[in-house]
């Protein structure tokens, strides 16, 4: 049976080059990077090499990169770490209503701890206007956290301009670049970013490892206290295997970004064109141009997302409704609602996300099955279709 993976925004397989780089660190070069004997030194030098590679991906200095357990931890550290460090100066944070739940729920926690959070609304394409950010600033604003590219719809934010506003106003700027790394240029200088989150498993590295860029001189309260690892920003024995994998993945991502962009765009655009042409009652979610190359989010009126995914899965096509949802409860995506979609339309949406190993044949295969699946589900729900 076909087995076509089109859910690369959820996670990616580890690339062979990455796997090969990691392999020796499981059993041979397995030392604790903080040990002073040779096992430790071998691990340490591998960790530092990986740090340079990650720094290279985002145009930072190696000393500004700290390893974490993933994008979620990086986001939590950025939000809470800055909030706790700067709370004497103010307790106001600005973000958007389409951030990843790692940012939104860190903000929720901070609100319960007495911080005030402004959730900026986006336009129908999911874009923030930098002017909105400027207008939301108060004397008490300590942090702006706005993602580079959205995981569900792929919309890319004008982070350079937002960073400029933050810088000019002496406010910290964090951006979640988990989805954009390896697909778009990510440059902490061009973005005027003070903090930036990355995750290994979205760029063909391993799960359970991520990184955070913290500009030299920006103080941060750790969220993981302990043995003073990672220059006292993030404690815990270094995950050498994961870090080496992330380093290698970052290197490949930087090298191949332009080619990747072209390939992913081509496949995504082909699928988008064919869906529009061959299926009625569809609506594309996200910005027409300012969008991640491989991401295509589509609403199919009258067909429910989970059923679509299940049917596609039975046909050997793996896609998702947007963010991998753990609760199992059906809830319309907060991102699609933020675009102004009605809940029913939001519920009938599917995200296709292309990756390194996809080909144009995959597009053909999807289009050999998708129209039939959509009409079958519409048949099942017929009386229920509004409009």
């Amino acid at each position: 049976m076909a087995s076509i993976y089109l859910d690369h925004n959820a996670t990616t397989p580890v690339r062979p080059e990455v796997y090969d780089a990691m392999e020796p660190f499981f059993r041979v070069r397995f030392g604790n990077a903080s040990s002073i004997h040779r096992y430790g030194q071998e691990a340490r030098s591998a960790v530092e090499e990986a740090r340079s590679r990650v720094a290279g991906l985002v145009n930072a200095r190696p000393s500004e990169i700290y390893f974490t357990s993933g994008g979620t931890e990086s986001d939590n550290l950025a939000l809470k770490g800055i909030a706790y460090t700067r709370r004497a100066f103010g307790r106001h944070i600005i973000t958007t209503n389409i951030e990843h739940s790692a940012v939104l729920n860190s903000c929720g926690f901070l609100e319960r701890e007495g911080f005030e959070v402004t959730y900026l609304p986006v336009d129908e394409y999911g874009r923030i206007d930098p002017g909105q950010v400027a207008d939301a600033l108060t004397d008490h604003t300590i942090l702006i956290s706005i993602m580079h590219a959205n995981n569900e719809i792929g919309t890319v934010q004008p982070v350079g301009e937002i960073g400029r506003i933050a810088r000019d106003n002496g406010v910290c700027f964090h951006t979640d670049a988990v989805q954009s790394a390896g697909k778009l240029p990510v440059d902490v200088e061009a973005m005027h970013a003070d903090l930036l989150s990355l995750s290994g498993h979205k760029i063909y590295g391993p799960k359970g490892v991520g990184a955070i860029y913290i500009r030299n001189g920006v103080e941060i309260e750790p969220t993981a206290h302990g043995g003073h690892h990672e220059n006292d920003v993030r404690s815990g024995t270094e995950n050498t295997v994961g870090i080496v994998g992330l380093g290698k993945a970052a290197e490949l991502a930087a090298e191949e970004r332009e080619r990747e962009f072209r390939n992913l765009s081509e496949m995504r655009d082909a699928l988008e064109a064919r869906i529009r042409f061959e299926i009625d009652g569809v609506r594309i979610n996200g910005h027409p141009e300012r969008r991640l190359p491989g991401t295509l989010n589509v609403s199919f009126s009258g067909a429910e997302g989970d059923s679509l995914i299940m049917s596609l899965d039975l046909a050997g096509i793996a896609v998702s409704t947007g963010s991998a949802c753990t609760s199992g409860a059906i809830e319309p995506s907060h991102v699609l609602l933020a675009l102004g979609r009605d809940p029913r339309t939001a519920l009938g949406s599917v995200r296709f996300s292309f990756g390194h190993d996809n080909t144009m044949e995959d597009v053909d295969y999807v289009m050999s099955r998708l129209p039939g699946i959509v009409s079958r589900l519409r048949e099942v729900s017929a009386a229920q279709v509004p409009g």
Binding site: D306, P343, Q384
Partner: protein
């Protein structure tokens, strides 16, 4: 995640459609932001003789809807009115805890359809026995 029975009913749902001259129609679920079912019943002599559905919802909702139509055919209205969410889930070979609400929606559909049938009966009793029996509740 899902039992093979769920998958079977999702792949090949039984009794999809509507009954233009249904004796009872049940709508359940959340039409604004969730799954919905429309259940159509034909009832004769206090017994369900035909059932059809339309469902907008996840695989479990569709499977539960399909299963419940099969379950209904041949049941008395009393049996149908007393349906429990668990009955459907069990018939499906179980549902994940987070999907129990799908069987609940199907059960609500049944109860609403029976209620609709009884209301119609009350308004226009064509079966005195049935109407009488119901009054003894």
């Amino acid at each position: 995640m899902y039992s093979s029975t769920v998958m079977d009913h999702f792949r090949s749902p039984r009794n999809v459609g509507d009954l233009p001259d249904a004796d009872g129609v049940g709508n359940a679920g959340n039409p604004i932001s969730g799954n919905t079912i429309a259940l159509y019943l034909r009832i004769a002599d206090g017994t369900v003789t035909d059932a059809k559905f339309r469902t907008f919802g996840c695989a479990a909702s569709i499977a539960a809807s399909s299963m419940v139509t099969e379950w209904l055919i041949g049941r008395t209205t009393e049996q149908a009115a007393a349906i429990e969410n668990k009955t459907i889930a069990d018939a499906l070979g179980g549902l994940p805890p987070t999907k129990m609400h799908c069987s609940a929606m199907a059960a609500d559909g049944v109860r609403t359809a029976i209620e609709d049938y009884r209301n119609r009966q009350d308004a226009n009793p064509k079966d005195e026995y049935e109407a009488g029996k119901r009054q003894s509740y």
